[in-house]
Subunit: 282 residues, 2 copies
DNA sequence: ACGGTGCGATACCGTGCGGGTATCGCCGTG
DNA sequence: CACGGCGATACCCGCACGGTATCGCACCGT
């Protein structure tokens, strides 16, 4: 199976419409139809149930959609990582480390400092990204290694080492009634009609419906908290980056957050290995 | 990047010889040379350092070899799983479970029995394979889920759930001096010149050099033990399948063996999920 | 009931790319 | 120094892939 065919298939499977899929692929509809039915013939299986007015995935099609997406990502990751490895002087190829902007900054600083002192250390480019984006960045090859946060980030398919575990705190606007408490429970902070939790964008950039404000990054969120529009529950160490006009209150029963260092399991990079070794020794 | 190009590249990277690689690919050498240099141009990077008498991987080439192999495996897995999903009647697609022949037989029986009793259970095909082969079978899509044994099998890249942990026993020919002992240490059993550990085939079917006999499956191995030619260290539960003319002695300091159920992290199969759920509840 | 419309399938055509053969250029070797 | 082995280059050919035109079908509205 060629990646071209897989891309065709995935486009049709997403659109469930040959015409629109063809448009998205920048081609005409007939060759797309032909390519799909040729693929079906080669696989010995229908991938779509289609009459002239509806297109639906078969069971086999659903399998190919899940598996094929993963495969396409692997191919693209291979391409990106090769490009990156090639655009560096030989023997000194850097690594890209993906971290959530504003998270684990102290740990990150210690890690970078300790790693730089290692013999044979290589330049580390830090790729700052939005919440939950590290996973995608690491999967698609834009990064070689990442700091993720369980249980928020999905670490499936990566090798990981735990680095630290911490409790969470609620971050509230100054003067809010709850700020007088010395600690809160999750029941206290979820479902506050006056202070709904913010909504982060999905992978495709869209927002799920809900009462909270739509946010895109941390500064935006902090600003909305100071304005008394929302609140958040975050790991304890984020306390160090808060402005003076918000208040942090521990939430002992919130799920503890574990910061892990993650890398693709087939990584053969000595630099990634050294970075991981350094991280686990902190 | 197309999988065709990747296959070309991997062939050359393995052979480090354009002529032989072309032969293996069933094509002539010139188009292969052209394809590789076109790929290099598209990636903006040399993949091989080559003069007229030597071909060697560049750093970028090494990256592409590791990443590209994983990507090709993902594509082939997608293809196999789709074929399998398509060759079953709709809604009743079976699952393939890979297990090492002769291992965890009691656990396996309990699992199959318990799963069959679940509502919505689906036929489970058991794929019996040689030691360490499960990983490959699961990675390349011939199986959907597998029972693996840490620390022997490499579970990197899979999601896993631990099922059981057990100690190991040494399996010796009856009458051997060590069989009088009530327990042994690893130091006792490794490096016995008279009873060298057997050698299992590599993934490519070849054997590493060493003193032990070359074995291919369990019955062969057991027979060699009864003949007094070798011995083995195996999980405790394998005791139930031993013939009467061998002796098992506990080895408390051997690394404990954990049987895990493993599946590809992107699996969307409800049947696999149900099987895993059943397994963890045993 | 019937023409309209939207969509996938089919028919047919041109071209560019992938593969083949012949040959060159380079270098290590007896 | 002639030879042989190997990768690169030159050139040619066939076909597979993509485009346009059109068909067939099913669901509409009137």
């Amino acid at each position: 199976m060629e990646t071209r065919e897989l891309r065709f298939f995935v486009a049709v499977a997403q659109e469930l419409h040959f015409g629109r899929a063809a448009q998205r692929l920048g081609m005409a509809q007939p060759p797309l139809s032909r390519a799909i039915s040729l693929l079906e013939r080669r696989l010995g299986t229908r991938l779509f149930d289609r009459d002239s007015h509806r297109v639906a995935l078969t069971d086999a099609g659903a399998v190919l959609l899940a598996e094929g997406r993963a495969a396409l990502e692997a191919v693209e990751a291979a391409e990106r990582r090769t490009r990156r490895a090639g655009s560096a002087e030989p023997g000194r190829a850097g690594v890209v480390l993906a971290v959530k902007a504003g998270a684990a900054s102290e740990l990150l600083a210690k890690l970078l400092h300790a790693y730089a002192a290692e013999p044979g250390a290589v330049p580390v480019e830090v790729f700052l990204c939005g919440p939950g984006e590290q996973e995608r960045i690491l999967r698609d090859g834009r990064a070689d290694v990442a700091l993720l946060h369980r249980p928020f980030d999905n670490v499936a398919g990566f090798d990981t080492e735990d680095l630290m575990t911490e409790g969470q705190i609620a971050i509230l606007p100054a003067g809010h009634p709850l700020t007088t408490r010395t600690q809160l429970s999750m029941a206290d902070v979820t479902g506050l009609a006056a202070l709904p939790m913010p909504r982060w964008p999905d992978r495709d950039g869209s927002y799920a419906p809900g009462p909270g404000p739509e946010v895109r990054d941390h500064t935006q969120l902090i600003q909305l908290i100071t304005l008394g529009r929302t609140m958040m529950v975050a790991p304890e160490t984020s306390r160090t980056q808060l402005p003076p006009d918000v208040v942090a209150v521990p939430v002992p029963d919130a799920h503890p957050v574990t910061t892990v260092i993650a890398w693709p399991p087939h990584s053969r990079s000595p630099a990634v290995a050294a970075l991981v070794r350094t991280a686990t020794r902190l």
